[in-house]
Symmetry: C2
Subunit: 247 residues, 2 copies
């Protein structure tokens, strides 16, 4: 058996990670567990940049502001391309606010996390349902999920500013500190509030949320949609399609 | 805040992964959870190559044999160096059989998984104890752990060829197929056998073993040493030392 240099592998996936680091590891675990593989060689080759020093993903900054994360994200994207990536995935919801800039001029697919979630909602037969949404302030205020969800004919119930500030944002911070049990309690309260207010399913629109809530908990799995897992499934679909085309 | 390009970061860790893929994700999770960080920016920047197409790590092949994994591992090591890695870790026990070749001529540290395990055994006050060992045939027959463990004054009780063939190797294959509950049962039997025969602790000398056995299970945590976690701790120690030196 000879090794095809992964730098020229047609199914080499680039992962723009580190936002945050544990979310990146969670994405890789979900990607691997969703890959239909019986032996190592059937898994998807990966190049991962986990750069935890990308500036905070906050809105309202000019792209050339030194506090903007865009330059750092573009640098990491270009690194993945130079490493031979044939598609890019970014396991961070908020960072998709800069998707237009990150995918501009790129001649390989940049797999969008919101597209992956909407495909999963539709596959689950939820068309027309009211979808709850929680995420960072930037994800909520930037309408990252809300606009595409409404456009596809779903209803959308977004965590309000109070709930975001009191439970969602502090829960995310606890995951970044590795304080998972405390994070879980905080986040579960926010999920319950959205369900009480009429959501049929809740999109966990920040990669720290499924880490904190633990998607293996049946209570969570029944009520929530995990964008990290949806992105992983979309990446597996991409790799399998490339292989089927004989790539 | 400005981003230091991670390609020149003094604490950028390169991970030579994919042997197997799930073990690499497990290593990243353990690395992150052992890092004393409260926010993203305190985590360790990483470049990961997860190349599942590296030839099977079997002994007895000449290094220039096309079936040898060495050329592919050197290719991935060189990729990590070119990406700016300032140290390299390889979350695969068996692959350390080629450690001399992989670290030759390298001017950055290549953190050895067996050194990390021995440090952990000594820190746990087990000096002089009889240590059980299970792993792939190559790890056992190549005496990867046995020689250094004996040299440091421990006893060593190695899973024999029958137990390796009947329970250890099939358990590892089940993890690579994502069949974790079946793997766990298979592996637990092997741990019990080593304990019954006099081992005080069992080194899980293949990265698939702690994934299958689940180190969060108190029964396992009490009886087993996880080389993936030990390697993660050694990498955290490296990064913290680099930062303390003002790197």
């Amino acid at each position: 058996m000879t090794l095809t240099n992964s730098r020229s592998r047609p199914d080499l996936l680039g992962v723009l990670g580190g936002m945050g680091p544990l979310a990146t590891a969670d994405f890789l675990t979900k990607l691997i567990s969703r890959t239909p593989a019986r032996v190592d060689t059937e898994h998807i080759p990966l190049v991962v940049s986990s750069e935890p020093n990308i500036p905070v993903r906050a809105l309202g900054l000019a792209n050339d502001d030194p506090s903007s994360p865009l330059a750092a994200m573009l640098d990491r994207r270009d690194f993945l391309v130079s490493a031979g990536a044939q598609a890019i995935a970014m396991p961070c919801n908020t960072a998709h606010y800069w998707y237009a800039e990150l995918s501009a001029g790129l001649d390989i697919p940049f797999i969008h996390i919101v597209d992956a979630v909407i495909a999963e909602l539709e596959a689950a037969g939820l068309s027309g349902a009211t979808i709850g949404l929680m995420g960072t302030r930037a994800t909520v205020e930037g309408r990252l999920y809300e606009d595409p969800i409404l456009e596809r004919g779903f209803g959308c119930l977004v965590a309000d500013a109070d709930l975001t500030a009191s439970h969602v944002v502090p829960g995310i911070a606890l995951v970044k500190e590795n304080r998972i049990p405390e994070a879980k309690e905080m986040m579960r309260h926010a999920v319950e509030r959205l369900l009480d207010n009429g959501a049929e399913k809740v999109v966990l629109g920040c990669t720290e949320l499924p880490v904190g809530l633990d998607m293996n908990d049946p209570w969570v799995a029944e009520r929530c949609i995990d964008p990290t897992a949806a992105l992983a499934s979309a990446c597996v679909d991409w790799a399998m399609a490339v292989r089927q085309r004989g790539g």
